[in-house]
């Protein structure tokens, strides 16, 4: 417990060291940038969507392409995070048992994809899983149809596999601190009470880390739903997911901008809802 002056949470009249003027001046540049290059663009999207009194939403909701995009995004936004959380959890579980040094090295390797451009991943996956990719040809030697195997990466599920390349590191980063702090003596206690290793983990570990798992799922789901770079590089605009539907609307000259704005808002709403859910769970865990 610290008893140092000023660290107390309730110190209301305990004056902050930097005066109000300094703090406002220091936050000003960020506020200006934020207003002009974040709020203004988003507000103009809202204005564009409301331009014809909401008729754009009607057009969008009546468009089968939009609904195919929603379905594709929901599939992608569920499968990719689910797969990533499963793999990421197992990997984090493994890392948590390593020594501090080995963990640091493994963590560095695992977090590399976070800084990779989505394009790097896309082309790498074409080389591994594409129509004449390494794995495709390898499986062809074992008798698999290269057209089927090579086509997989261009489906929403295949896309999910590519996405998990940079989603898994995010899961590991969320889960690792939780798992390192988990007191493994609990598992030993459960085993001594008669549980086998699997049930001990299922009954003791999983419920305790469930909030973190859900947070990881939501965060990766938001990324999977909102991103388009990797998908564009892999499949052009041929797969029906919401961001690609939106992208083709934006990039086609003379297209329906109010409808694109409406899709933007729906897409952003979806992402915000998922991130908000994660934040609520995080806040409840902290309380």
């Amino acid at each position: 417990m610290t008893r140092t002056p000023g660290t107390s949470r309730k110190s209301g009249r305990a004056i902050p060291l930097a005066g109000r003027g300094v703090r406002l001046a220091f936050a000003l540049p960020a506020a200006v940038i934020f207003a002009v290059f974040f709020l203004l663009p988003l507000l103009s999207v809202v204005r564009e969507a409301a331009d014809d009194h909401g008729a754009a939403f009607g057009r969008v909701l009546a468009d089968p392409v939009f609904w195919r995009g929603v379905r594709g995004s929901l599939v992608l936004g569920t499968l990719a995070p689910a797969f990533s959380v499963l793999v990421g959890f197992l990997v984090a579980l493994n890392l948590a048992r390593l020594s501090e040094r080995a963990r640091a090295v493994a963590l560095f390797a695992i977090s590399l994809p976070l800084t990779f451009s989505g394009l790097v991943i896309a082309y790498g996956f074409i080389l591994v899983f594409g129509r004449s990719g390494f794995v495709t040809l390898l499986l062809a030697k074992l008798g698999a149809d290269p057209a089927v195997v090579g086509g997989f990466i261009f489906t929403p599920m295949g896309l999910g596999l590519a996405y998990s390349y940079y989603l898994i590191p995010r899961v590991v980063l969320v889960m690792l601190p939780v798992l390192t702090n988990f007191d493994r003596a609990q598992i030993a206690a459960a085993r001594s009470l008669g549980a086998n290793s699997f049930t001990a983990h299922l009954d003791i570990l999983v419920p305790q880390v469930m909030p973190a798992l859900i947070t990881a799922f939501c965060l990766t789901a938001a990324v999977a739903i909102g991103a388009y770079g990797t998908a564009l590089a892999l499949v052009g605009t041929q797969v029906n997911i919401l961001p690609l539907v939106l992208y083709s609307k934006i990039s086609d000259a003379g297209s329906d901008f109010p409808a694109a704005a409406a899709i933007s808002l729906l897409l952003m709403g979806l992402c915000c809802a998922v991130v908000g859910a994660a934040e609520l769970i995080r806040a409840r865990r902290a309380a």
Partner: protein, 355 residues
């Protein structure tokens, strides 16, 4: 070099916690220790003096000058924090020289003064080391040197020993006292360790619920506490509610006690204080009934090395004993001069818990 709080009140917004009507003076060269349970406001007192909080009412004077509205950096007070808060990116001498640097002292001079200050706390040879390479006690000494190097007008110590282990703590008490005496400045020492307060303070202030309830020299505080709260907080105590039967006679749970009742009217309530080490244990019952002798059954018996601490059940009452005799104890004698009557506990009036 004196410090004065004049009617200072401060309440944390949105709570009832704070400090109220604080009137306190610390003379030049005096070390005033402030003790109290956590949340009693002792740290707030230090915050107010250091300038990290502004009083709602009253004023604070240092050397007769009103500093209430001064910024912390304008007050020239040396503060030693509980965590020492050494700057991790500066070597020890740069840490100690920092207050001189911000005052514009030339580099050669401030280096020399910093080295001198480090020498005074016995760390001259570590001058170029980084703070993180030091033990807790060494960091503490650097923090002390840093707080004193610019000849501050007062020294503020915020639980300076609480992060040290017990063995180091005793040595550091003497060290702090030596350095404080050398500097000869008014010192406010906030601590939750009553032994530390009694051994270091010229005077000790006891805080409770944001108020000063007694300020006195250590011996006075221990022997003549002003209230039951002070008696209970400072040292160990037997405290029995009682009623003055007649001059020189008080009735408690244990039975009748003979003692000096000066200042208490017969029929009035009181609280009886007896320190456990002043209770005289008896190995066997005296032949004839004597005043202030009670027999009973030992219910707890703890051997702590130099001291043996036991509880004697007497009827429905309990007598705490501290002794060094090791034989069986059958009775106790309470010398009349060891008994001190305190104002009655206000809560006892309502509950009527007197036997």
């Amino acid at each position: 070099m004196s410090v004065r709080f004049e009617n200072v009140s401060f309440r944390y917004p949105g709570s009832t916690a704070g400090v109220f009507d604080i009137d306190l003076e610390i003379a030049t060269g005096e070390l005033l220790a402030v003790i109290g349970p956590s949340g009693s406001g002792k740290s707030t007192l230090l915050k107010l003096l250091a300038g990290f909080a502004v009083p709602d009412a009253g004023r604070i004077l240092v050397d007769g000058r009103d500093v209430t509205d001064l910024e912390p950096h304008e007050r020239a007070l040396g503060v030693v924090f509980q965590s020492y808060a050494l700057f991790p990116h500066m070597s020890l001498w740069r840490n100690v020289a920092y207050p001189l640097k911000v005052r514009g002292t030339p580099k050669a001079e401030r280096r020399q003064r910093a080295l001198d200050a480090l020498a005074r706390v016995g760390l001259a040879e570590f001058a170029e080391r980084a703070p993180t390479s030091l033990s807790g006690g060494q960091q503490q000494r650097v923090a002390l040197a840093r707080a004193l190097v610019f000849s501050p007008r007062a020294l503020l110590l915020d639980e300076p020993l609480s992060a040290l282990d017990a063995a180091l703590r005793h040595g550091m008490r003497d060290e702090i006292l030596r350095v404080q005496r050398g500097a000869g400045i008014a010192t406010l020492h906030v601590t939750h360790d009553q032994e530390e307060a009694l051994s270091m303070g010229d005077r000790v202030a006891v805080m409770h619920a944001g108020r000063l309830i007694q300020v006195a020299a250590p011996r006075e505080l221990y022997d003549r506490p002003a209230s039951r709260t002070v008696a209970a907080f400072v040292g160990h105590a037997n405290l029995w509610d009682g009623e003055v039967r007649a001059p020189g006679r008080v009735v408690t749970r244990l039975g009748e006690l003979a003692c000096d009742t000066a200042g208490f009217e017969p029929g009035g309530r009181t609280c009886v204080l007896v320190r456990p080490e002043q209770v005289v244990p008896l190995a066997e019952l005296p032949g004839a009934a004597r005043p202030n002798v009670f027999y009973g059954r030992i219910s707890e018996d703890r051997f702590l090395g130099a001291v043996r601490r036991c509880d004697l059940e007497v009827g429905s009452g309990l007598v705490r004993i501290e002794t060094n005799i090791r034989t069986a104890i059958a009775a106790v004698s309470i010398p009349p001069e060891a008994i001190r009557l305190l104002p009655p506990d206000p809560t006892a009036l309502h509950t009527g818990s007197l036997s």
